[in-house]
Symmetry: C2
Subunit: 699 residues, 2 copies
């Protein structure tokens, strides 16, 4: 089978060739790809990517041709080899964090050191004392300790306060006993734990003298540093295959009365005083809290590129793919139509293309907000810090408005943006028809590896309660007559001023009115929810669905606003050609009007738009925008700058050689084609010949 006959090798796809089509597409648009690329990511990041890419491509282990064929164990084995090599290269080339992240993006699969690097090191750094840095961090940074962050349990995910693992203080010998009282206390889903870690940062209920003080982090060794076997009274392993993310060894972990020394409790913010045996209160929970906000902001920042990867693949393939003639085409127009020319394909794909830009600019805005707040926070007086002490995010007072704003914004946007990216990827895959189902499309596995983002770092539905709490609090403040002190309170105050006059937004005529309509709809539903909670005294549980919609509405407003403001930046006309800038304006309108239409009932209900405006948006404006953006689709996706190495996709190849690549992978790379079956039901033999098993060694 490995032998492909010459007559097969001589075959070409029927013309025109994919490469010709994409070349023509690129000729037909004046979008300045280099400029737009630089506008999106900056020169520095683009160069960094090229540098790292060159190194990775010279290493055989990063060659991806077998990735789609492997079972779980082989997949993990290869990922382990890659993780090791990547670490060696990082040391060799002296790569910093940003360069390492660039390499991870290019490799594009979760690697088994991921949680050691992402969470174990971070927890030690942020929450450890100098003594603990010496004892644990030093070894972890040298990869002598491989660690993980063991928080969620079989029985508890979102509800961290409900964790069952205990850490009981033994005042006699100044130790803690880490214990799993039930099966549901088993740590679960912990990345890098299943096979890799010899240490874990374990979140456990601190118990002193019979009293519980809530979850705290403890460093526990779980495997022997030499044999890598489990230590006595520790039981851990991999939790098994998953929907995606199978190159990661997500693990479980149980303890049977394991003693750890006093130093094991990470003590930067709270501790047990070994002399008095008393608990020392956390000095600033808001700092810890800031970590989660940072993680969520990063998710928002990445969502645009995550989606752009699927959109790039689908757009290129659907330009190359030709099917049917246009029904109304004149007779002289021979040949089949590019599928990207059908409006039903455009309406599924081009708004997603616009969404990539919307999410990307929102991510940048979110990061800027985060950094501005970090700066202000660190400038705050110690008096302010005192005020914060002991207060959770929902109860923070005026002194911490900034933090509350950042928290609400990051929760809402994390929920909306990750959801949008995940669902968009699946829409891209399905828009590609039959070939979208092939692993070689490169979109399926990318979706599967990404979709857990909807659930981790705060479940996308759960998070909307945090957003609602923040919005209701803002509305209460405005109703009390407090001066608006941020964007949220400003749009609420504006709404109150105008509510007896009503809205009159020219959504089809003016871009700023689109933003205003989104703000109006958000404010309307915030006050509506407030009325139900505060006046009608409806139960929290009965309002959850409304809270979800509220969070979505407000976050969509933020996305539209961020996109709009990016285009208003004074320097933009010096960075982009007029054609490219005009096109970005069209993408803004496409995102905003298409989203408005799909949420139209809320825009009606809040009287932010009329029925007639929505109908016009749907039947005229959006269709017109599709037509205007269509010729630039290929150049627009080129601007996202995904190397073929990263995409690992037959359908998304830059050169358009879609069919040749599909065929090559199926016929020559596919291990199943190295077996010959015995197809008859009565015979007990399954395989007459099997050369697939020794394939691994050969490649």
């Amino acid at each position: 089978m490995a032998h492909v006959p010459q007559w097969v090798r001589d075959l070409k796809p029927s013309g025109p060739q994919g490469s010709e089509i994409l070349a023509q597409e690129r000729d037909g648009s004046a979008v300045n790809v280099e400029q737009l690329k630089t506008f999106l990511f900056g020169q520095e990041a683009l160069q960094r990517k090229q540098k790292v890419l060159k190194v990775l491509q010279s290493e055989k282990v990063f060659e991806k041709s077998q990735d789609y064929f492997e079972g779980r164990t082989d997949k993990f084995e290869r990922a382990l080899a890659r993780a090791k090599k990547l670490r060696q290269l990082t040391v060799k080339h002296g790569w910093n964090d940003t360069e390492q992240r660039a390499a991870n993006d290019l490799i594009s699969e979760p690697l088994p050191y991921g949680l050691h690097e992402g969470m174990y090191l971070k927890t030690l750094r942020d929450q450890g004392t100098p003594e603990q840095h010496e004892k644990y961090l030093k070894h972890a940074e040298a990869y002598q300790h491989i660690g993980c962050y063991a928080q969620t349990e079989l029985g508890h995910g979102s509800n961290v306060r409900g964790l069952e693992t205990t850490a009981t203080w033994n005042s006699d010998d100044k130790t803690f006993t880490i214990h799993s009282p039930h099966l549901t206390a088993s740590k679960w889903w912990i990345g890098s734990l299943g096979k890799m870690a010899n240490h874990a940062s374990v979140m456990a209920q601190l118990i002193i003298d019979g009293k519980s003080y809530g979850p705290h982090p403890f460093v526990v060794q779980i495997r022997d540093l030499k044999t890598h076997e489990l230590l006595p009274n520790v039981y851990a392993g991999d939790i098994g295959p998953k929907f995606g993310y199978n190159t990661m060894d997500n693990g479980f972990l149980l303890f049977n009365h394991v003693k750890v020394p006093h130093v094991a409790m990470l003590a930067r913010f709270s501790a047990v005083d070994p002399k008095t045996n008393r608990y020392l209160k956390p000095s600033s929970p808001t700092l810890v809290y800031g970590t989660l906000t940072w993680v969520r902001s990063t998710i928002v920042l990445q969502s645009g590129s995550v989606l752009a990867r699927g959109v790039t693949i689908a757009t290129r393939y659907l330009a190359v793919r030709r099917q049917f003639q246009d029904r109304d085409a004149p007779e002289w127009q021979l040949g089949e139509n590019q599928t990207l020319n059908y409006t039903m394909v455009q309406i599924r794909l081009l708004p997603l293309l616009a969404t990539c830009f919307a999410l990307h600019f929102t991510g940048k805005g979110m990061m800027a907000l985060y950094e501005a707040n970090q700066k202000k926070m660190s400038q705050r007086s110690s008096k302010d810090q005192q005020e914060l002490r002991g207060a959770g995010p929902e109860e923070t007072q005026s002194g911490s408005d900034l933090l509350a704003d950042l928290h609400g914004t990051s929760c809402g946007l994390k929920s909306l943006c990750s959801q949008t990216a995940a669902e968009g990827l699946e829409a891209c895959r399905r828009a590609m028809g039959g070939h979208g189902y092939s692993a070689f499309s490169g979109v399926g596995h990318w979706f599967l590896d990404y979709v857990p983002t909807c659930t981790w770092e705060g479940d996308n539905y759960m998070l909307t309660q945090q957003v609602a709490r923040y919005l209701l609090k803002s509305a209460r403040s405005v109703l009390k007559g407090n001066e608006p002190n941020n964007d949220t309170t400003e749009i609420l105050a504006h709404y109150l001023k105008r509510q007896d006059v009503g809205a009159a937004f020219d959504i089809l005529g003016k871009d700023e009115d689109i933003v205003a309509a989104y703000a109006w709809r958000s404010a309307y539903f915030i006050f509506e929810a407030l009325r139900q909670r505060d006046e009608l005294k409806q139960s929290w549980n009965s309002l959850l669905v409304q809270f979800y919609k509220l969070s979505r509405a407000h976050s969509q407003y933020l996305v539209v606003k961020n996109f709009y403001e990016t285009l208003q930046s004074p320097s933009i006309s010096s960075e982009l050609d007029p054609e490219t800038l005009t096109l970005l304006h069209k993408l803004f309108r496409l995102y905003a009007l298409h989203t408005l239409e799909s949420e139209s009932s809320e825009f009606f209900t809040s009287s932010a738009c009329t029925v007639s405006q929505i109908r016009l948006a749907r039947t005229k404006a959006v269709m017109q925008l599709l037509e205007e953006i269509r010729p630039h689709a290929i150049r627009l996706v080129d601007s996202w700058d995904f190397p073929d190495f990263q995409l690992n996709s037959s359908l998304g190849r830059y050169d358009g050689k879609v069919y040749e690549d599909m065929f090559y992978r199926a016929s020559e790379l596919n291990p199943l084609n190295r077996i010959t079956v015995d197809p008859y039901p009565e015979s007990a033999t399954l395989f007459k010949k099997d050369e697939s098993r020794n394939l691994k060694g050969k490649l």
Copy 2:
């Protein structure tokens, strides 16, 4: 690792136990599960399932414990073993088609004989002459020939007329030459072809004397009957891994001028006369056409059960899962709340539960329509048959109205129902939070194996053009003043009569008014689209998005109508207890009002409802229904009668032992836990110990 320490074995989940919770749920509802089961499926089918289940469970090869761990080749090997065993059992027990289908449902994975049984045999039976039955069908039925149905190509899927493979008639030696002129002519996605088939029914462009007569089916042998090696000038293999469906050997196939005899062209409906070398026209394309309709009707019929499987798993798990306390709960109410009690979970899950019933009853309605039409068709005079000759479905005249109605209905419902089921499954998976990502949830792989249904047998988006064509034609007929002769023309005529009076539907008060509101919205958009096409002369391409929405609107009307009519059946009160029947009425309202709300902008625009009605539906009626249905959720899913064997799910276990099963599969069945890694980046060793490879033999 295989050794689980005793202290781990002794652990139990923290209380209350899943089994206690589910028992309590079942005690708390009076739904008569046995009755409802029988109402849904009939006594006969339920007994058949139990009989077949018993046989399958006694065979080791059908034991599913390793299914989630395997790579592609192992997966396929196991599926092959199962396919053979199933065939042997079918022969041994003399199972008929229905029993075989029941077995396939229980095994729940695509088996490699699937397309031999589903399509090759059917094509030979339907399109072969008696001579061809003797030459091909006989051997195929005896599994000496294993066949496949080779239609789609690398370059062509939906557009069958564009296929590139040619079958050129050689008048000199009375043979056909089958040839693949380009790489894109390669047959692709063909089930049972990659490894299994030794014969293929190949769709190829018939060419006689330089003239093309369109695609026709030819039987071609492709592999040696003894060695199973490819025959000369044939190149075929497996197309590689896919998003799902990996137990099937979807294949590719190329021909290099392969000669086949005259008898190879399936000649029941059209043929080449070997004496005159002339083409003999098809006598009745509508019969062939009926096959596709039957396949689509089957998809509609199955969609309810397909979705119910995910809903069953999610409902049971979310009843067992407890997380957080209710914020407004009184202090004395200790412990965490069942996640199924949160309205945000209910709104995602319970409308899907209602949807299962809606789809199931619609599927039954669709099948009844199909059978009624088959009966009428066969009663038709030969004069009618003559009329049909040579006419495609879109141009059929009044004599074939029935067929057009059936075609439009089956296309629209196939598109809506498969989309709804696929998206619903993913919603179920995601509603389960973190554990939904585990393969052991049993929903992920089920979704992946099902989702191609959205694309095959007519892409869900493409199909809506067929529906629109049918609806526009119906509207033209009504406008001409023709008497309504079916439900579609009736609702259109009714709309015309009332359009100057407007609608006044009491959707919250009367069930029949809900149905009427759906009919009104559909009729409104049909006439709207007709105006744009016929009066404003808009291009077909510019209307595709509207056509899609139109098809969706009309199909949703059909679903609501079918559900409503099922509940109006005179015998129903003798079949179901009053409580159970009342609950079905509530499920009807939940499906109809929830769908209405999510499509509300179309109901506004068409003036079928007021803004205020929709708001009330959303904030009152739907929330009230969730509360009323919630206590019966477990019994309602029990009624779908899925044995644990079929579900193969930790989270969906009938007995609620969710955590025990997750833990057992992860710790004891998971091959990755039979390896010990070397975790340090500098060391070249990956695995210190690897006992996973010989696991296969052991199990």
